[in-house]
Symmetry: C2
DNA sequence: ACGAGACTTCCATCATGTGGGAACCCTCGA
DNA sequence: TCGAGGGTTCCCACATGATGGAAGTCTCGT
C-alpha cells in the first residue's frame, strides 16, 4: 500500500496533507468521501477518521449543497502568517495595472512542487472576460499557460521529470504530453508561451515566467482572452507588457527577500 | 501523557496542527525547537520528526536568521481556496474607508476557537500610527480589544468558559482575568470596548463586534491610536464610524452566505 | 578553545493508527 | 414507496507507524 519507499515515520500526517492538496486541487467544488477513496486508494473508514480530525481542526469544512469537503477557514488564517502573503501583495499593484493596460483578465500563478496555484487574478475592462481559473486553484504543472511558461525556463531534464510526475493527471485533463513538450520548446526560444484554444474553444492565452534571484522560474503571469483579442500583430505589444510586469514583480520579489534577509 | 481524554485515533495529526497553531501564534518571529518542546511538553525527537514532515510538505519553513520555524508558503496557497478569503475581500473596502475616516490604524480580527486572528489591517493618514499587531497574528481570545468586543456579545457563561480555557496564556501575557471580565461587562452595556494603555503605554483602542446571521460575534474591528487621539468627546463619533463599518461588513457577510447558500 | 545548550539521528519498543467488516443512517431519484 | 449509493459509526485483531530515550553532532557565546 505504500507507494513511496520512504519509511519516514509520519504516514498519517502525510496522508492528511495529501488530502488537503487533493481538496484544494478540486476547489471550489470540493470532493466527496467516495472521490477521495478513489483518488487516494485508501479505505473509507481510514479516510473518514482523518477527515473528521481535519474538520475538527477547521482545516476542512463541508459545503452545504452537497456534503462535499472543501478547504476550511483555518487554513486561510494560518496562511496569513506566511511570507507568501507578502508576495501576493507585492505583486498586486503590478497585476492591476497590467490588467488595465491589456484590458483582459490576467493571472498570477506560483509553483508548488509539481503543481501551479493561481494566487491572484485581475479582470480588465473589455466586456468579454475569460475567467478560466479561480484564485487558489491548483493544477498539475504544465497544463496552463503559466505552467508551460515556468517549465520553459527549467532544464529540459527537469521539465521532463515534472511532466512524468504529472503523467496520469495530465491524461485526466486530456492533454497530450507531446503537445506540451512542443509548447515548452517553443517557449524556450521565444521567451513566452502562447496557447490557442486554451481552456475553451476560441480563447487564447499568453504567459511569461517570473524568475527568482537564482534565475529559477517560481511564478508566471498570463493573460487570457477570446482569440481575436490576441492577433499576431498585437502579440509583441502584449508580450512586452507581460514581460515588463514579470520583471517588476521579479525585482520586487528579490528586493523583498534581501530586505528581510 | 495524554492531556485530553479523547481516544480519537489521530494523535499525530492533532499534534501537527497544534504545532502549526503555535507557530502561527508566534508569527512573524517563529519558534525554535526548544520553544516547541516547552510549549507542547513533548520530547524533541518526536517534535523534530513531525517538523521535518511539515517542512517537506512546505507547511512550515525555516527563517534564515535564527533557525526558527515559521509558517510556510503552502499554507497560504491552500488557504486561498477557502471561503474565508472572500470574507477578507468583502471587508477590505469598508476597512479602507474606515481607516481613511478615522485617520488611525484599523484592525479586522476573526474568532478561531479560543483565539483571535488578525486578518487585515489598514493604516490611516495621521503621521503617528500604532501598529500593534501583524496580519495573521493569533492571540488568545480576550486580550485584544477585538477579542474583548467579541466576548462581550457572548453569554457570560460562554465568555467565562473561553477565558478559563485561555487562563494560562492570558497569564503569560500578563493580563488579569478580573480586568478582562470588567472590560467585557462594560462592553456588554456600552456596545463597544475601550482599552486605555492597550499594547503600549499611552495608546488607546476602541473595538466593536461583527455579528453573523445568528447574532453570534464572529469578528470585530478596532482602531488603535495614541491616547490623545481618542478623547472622550470624540468617542461617540469614532464608535459611530466603527459600528457603521461593522454593520456594513455584517450585512455583506450575510448576503454572501445566502448568495452561495 | 571550551562548554552549554540546541539540534539531529538512531533504534528498540509498543501504543497508535490501520483497515476489513458489518450495521445503520441519510438523501435522492425513480 | 422503495432501492441504491453514499456516508457514518462501531468493533477489533494486527503490524507498523509513531514514539521518546539516549547518544551523537552542530552552533553559539564567552
Amino acid at each position: 500500500m505504500a507507494q513511496d519507499g520512504a519509511r519516514s515515520g509520519t504516514q498519517s500526517i502525510e496522508r492528511a496533507f495529501a488530502i488537503l492538496r487533493l481538496v484544494a486541487a478540486n476547489s471550489p467544488r470540493g470532493l466527496r468521501l467516495t472521490d477521495l477513496t478513489r483518488e487516494m486508494g485508501l479505505p473509507a473508514s481510514t479516510l473518514h477518521r482523518i477527515l473528521k480530525t481535519l474538520q475538527d481542526g477547521g482545516l476542512i469544512e463541508r459545503s452545504r449543497e452537497g456534503r462535499r469537503y472543501i478547504i476550511g477557514s483555518e487554513l486561510t488564517l494560518l496562511g496569513l502568517s506566511s511570507p507568501m502573503r507578502h508576495f501576493r501583495e507585492l505583486a498586486s499593484g503590478t497585476l492591476r495595472s497590467l490588467s488595465d493596460q491589456v484590458g483582459d483578465a490576467v493571472f498570477l500563478s506560483v509553483r508548488s512542487d509539481a503543481d501551479t496555484v493561481c494566487v491572484d487574478r485581475k479582470i480588465g475592462d473589455f466586456p468579454i472576460q475569460v475567467l478560466s481559473i479561480e484564485i487558489g486553484s491548483r493544477r498539475p504543472l504544465g497544463i496552463s499557460a503559466n505552467g508551460a511558461a515556468m517549465l520553459s525556463r527549467m532544464t529540459t531534464g527537469k521539465a521532463a521529470a515534472i511532466l512524468d510526475q504529472n503523467a496520469d493527471r495530465l491524461q485526466s485533463f486530456g492533454v497530450e504530453r507531446a503537445v506540451l513538450m512542443e509548447r515548452i520548446a517553443a517557449g524556450r526560444t521565444l521567451g513566452y508561451v502562447q496557447i490557442r484554444h486554451a481552456i475553451v474553444e476560441g480563447t487564447s492565452a499568453l504567459a511569461v515566467p517570473i524568475l527568482d534571484v537564482l534565475g529559477q522560474p517560481v511564478a508566471a503571469i498570463s493573460t487570457i482572452a477570446i482569440a481575436w483579442r490576441q492577433p499576431d500583430h498585437r502579440i509583441p505589444l502584449l508580450i512586452g507588457l507581460l514581460q515588463a510586469a514579470a520583471a517588476e514583480i521579479s525585482t520586487a520579489l528579490i528586493e523583498d527577500a534581501t530586505r528581510r534577509r
